[in-house]
Every structure is written in C-alpha cells, then in structure tokens.
C-alpha cells in the first residue's frame, strides 16, 4: 500500500513526512511512504496527504504550476475515491473559494469558503497555539478525548456550507472549523504533525481509515 505525500514546496512538508514516518513505523502493516509531485506516482497512491502553509493563493498556484499534478489528484480522489487528508492550507484548498488576498478559487471538493477569523480586538490573529477541539464521533477521531488540545496556526478558516462536512471545531472565541470530512476527503485545520502524541493518534487514525 502506498501513501503519497504531495510535494509542491510547502514549508511543512518535512515535518509532515517525519511525523507520518514515525507513526507508520509502528503500524502492523506499514505503508510505503512516497514524497512526490509526479503524476504517475500520485495515480498509484492508495492514500494521499496534502500539506500546506502560507497563503491560499500561493499554495494553489504552486500546485497548478506542476504539470498534471492537480489532474492526477482529482483522478485519484474524486474519480477513484481514495482516502485523502489535507493539513492546514492543504485542507483549506478543498473549499470552493478563499477570500485571502482577494478572491481565489479552491478545488471545490467540499462546499464552503475560506474566510478571515472574526474575533474581538483582544484576540491575537493569527490564531496561534494549542486550542481545544470538540468533535463528532468518527473513526478518524478514535482514541482522542473531547477538548483535547491541538496546535493551530492560521488567520483564515474554512466555513463549510453544510454542517455535516464540519466534524470538529475549536473556539476563538467563536466556533472555527477544526476538521472537515466528505466521504473519502478529510482535512484538519490544526497540525497533527506538530500536536505531539494526540497528533500522532490523528495520523494513526487516518492511516487505519478505510472510507466506505
């Protein structure tokens, strides 16, 4: 089984790769982890991870700059319904559009838009640090307690059009989407790769997940 981590120059690629490797090494049936941007390798993936930090538009442009990358992703995730996980901006890209630095289209895989966090003036932006997450029961959140802290760094968030696609939230002080899910497509706003043992559990859950 192959797990592909998409390499399009994202700053957190190394951290994501290292964390997935550390978790994967403890699995009974570990994946072959491949870090790549080659469409032919992406087409052979059984699971995919899309990291992302920085501005929405820059990440999107970087993906589209690589010939055939987006098309191969679409083929595997939408066409073949392979399990997909986006992290931070990698999750925000699933939206229809983002309003960061002007309007920019996303993948449009999950209905909704990425908008600026609205918080009272005494709340610092970016929303940076460890914050509590509450969630709907799902195997992707197995062995995680309600109100567990995860590490966030972001100024924009994914407001899903449908409540059913938002499976976890945090508060700052208004509710902010912490994880999205639609069929085989999953994403976290927080950084599991930086969230210590609970982050490793999130990665374990994704590696064990078999979307129906």
């Amino acid at each position: 089984m192959k797990l592909v981590i998409i390499n399009y120059g994202s700053g957190n690629l190394h951290s994501v790769h290292k964390a997935f490797e550390a978790v994967n090494n403890n699995l009974e049936n570990p994946y072959e982890i491949i870090v790549t941007n080659t469409p032919s390798e992406i087409l052979n993936a059984d699971k995919l991870v899309l990291p992302g930090v920085g501005a929405f538009q820059d990440c999107k442009n970087a993906i589209h700059k690589i010939d055939g990358l987006f098309e191969s992703l679409e083929q595997v995730v939408i066409g073949e319904k392979k399990a997909f996980m986006g992290i931070c901006v990698g999750m925000q890209l699933l939206a229809e559009k983002s309003l960061e630095f002007g309007e920019c289209e996303g993948f449009g895989w999950i209905p909704g838009e990425v908008i600026k966090i609205e918080a009272p003036v005494d709340y610092k932006i970016p929303h940076m640090g460890w914050n509590e997450v509450t969630f709907r029961n799902h195997e992707l959140l197995n062995n995680i307690s309600q109100n567990t802290d995860f590490y966030f760094v972001h100024s924009y968030y994914f407001r899903t059009q449908k409540n059913e696609n938002c499976i976890a939230t945090t508060k700052y002080p208004n509710p902010i989407t912490a994880a999205v899910l639609k069929e085989n497509i999953y994403g976290t706003q927080f950084h599991p790769e930086k969230s210590h043992n609970n982050g490793k559990q999130i990665i374990t859950n994704f590696l064990l997940w078999e979307p129906s």
Partner: protein, 252 residues
Amino acid sequence: MLKKRIIPCLDVDRGRVVKGVNFVDLVDAGDPVEQAKIYNSEGADELCFLDITASSDDRETLFEVVKKTAENCFIPLTVGGGVRTIDDISRLLHHGADKVSINTAAVENIDLVAKAAKKYGSSTLVIAVDAKKNGDKSWNIFTHGGRKSTDIDALEYCIEVANLGAGEILLTSMDRDGTKIGFDNELLSTVSSSIDIPVIASGGVGNLEHFVEGVLKGGASALLAASIFHFGEYSIKDVKTYLAEQNIAVRI
C-alpha cells in the same frame, strides 16, 4: 480556550546548548537533540533554537541539529540566529524547522520580512526583537545578538514588521536577559497592546511568579525561558501547574 505557550529556548553554539547571561559568559548545558527530546516529552508547547554564534563556517552543524531534532520532536520548532536570506529560511524549513526567527537581517533589510511572509506564510515567520530601555516607556532595538545599538524605536519597529506580515514577535528585554528578576512587563504590554500578532515574552524569568506576570501584566501569548529549565530549577510541568493554579489556561 487558546493556551498560553511555554517555550524552552536552547541557545546553540556550534551544535551545543549554552546559556546566556547578558549575552556573555557562556556555559555549556548539553546536547540540543537530547534536551529537545526531554522538553518534547515533558510537555513543552514549542521549542526554540537560537544559533548564537552564527558564523557561516559552523552553520552546517546547526542544520544537522535541526534535522535530528525535527525527527524526534513533534511540537513546533523555531530556529533563529544568523538568518539573513530567503535561502537561509528555505534551508531551515527544509531541515525541519517549523518557524524561522529573524533579527538583524530584518532590521537591515525590512523588505526581507514581507518577502519571507509572502513566500512561506506569516505563520513561519517570527521576528526577534532585542530591546533596551532608553527612557520612560521607550525602548531602542539592538542587533547582532545584542552587540550593536540602533536608533530604532522598538514599538514602532514591532508595528512595522507586524504590518509587513510577521507572524509573531519574540521580544527580548536586553535589560532583563539573564538577570532572573522577571520579564520587562512594561515593554511587553506596550508592544502587545499595540499589535494584533502574538508576542512571546523573553528575558529575565527567574521564578514561577514571573511567568504569571508575563501573561497578566505583560499580555504575552507565550513565555520563553532558557536557563531556568536547563539547570533543572523548574520543570515545564512545574510552570504549567503553577500557571493553571493561577487560572491561566495552559496545555497540561
């Protein structure tokens, strides 16, 4: 609720951890990777490496240390010291740093702040500011590891870099650094109340009450300390337990 972060800082000189007392009198306090592992397991919220020698010959050592640390620690790692170019930032990120802290280079070339924020995102960009009091509610910034003074007003500078896309400010009081008499909370609150981005308090922490004051009086989003942790005076857990007792939200 968003937690106040406790960040142990490892001052690294040629691949070894040292502590700073008013930026001189360096004392060896161990191997950075081993220390990082301990802090990671003790519940540190982030880690910070500051490469204080930063002579270009010895830079490769740092990359190795960063790489090994990133392989062992699954909490955010900030690395600074001698970061001068977009290429430096890129190399550190690719060796496993999550954020890069820039000090002197940002003062000398303010465009670097906007460029770095645009390329890697504000979330990866920490601007480190060394400030020294020069009058009533007035501080100047210093560069080159605190060795060179400037005429630049610390508050104005922090506002400017925040506007240019810095993700947070690591604000060190030169007056307090190594003194163990507490953070310069006046400096912290002056800056923190004037900018939207988080401020990390640094310089002067000597006991548990100082951490509390950094939050309540200084308005800091995160608290950084070096020697108090390295020599085992207090553990991360001691600090967090104490903060929690004072009703300050921390990740336990």
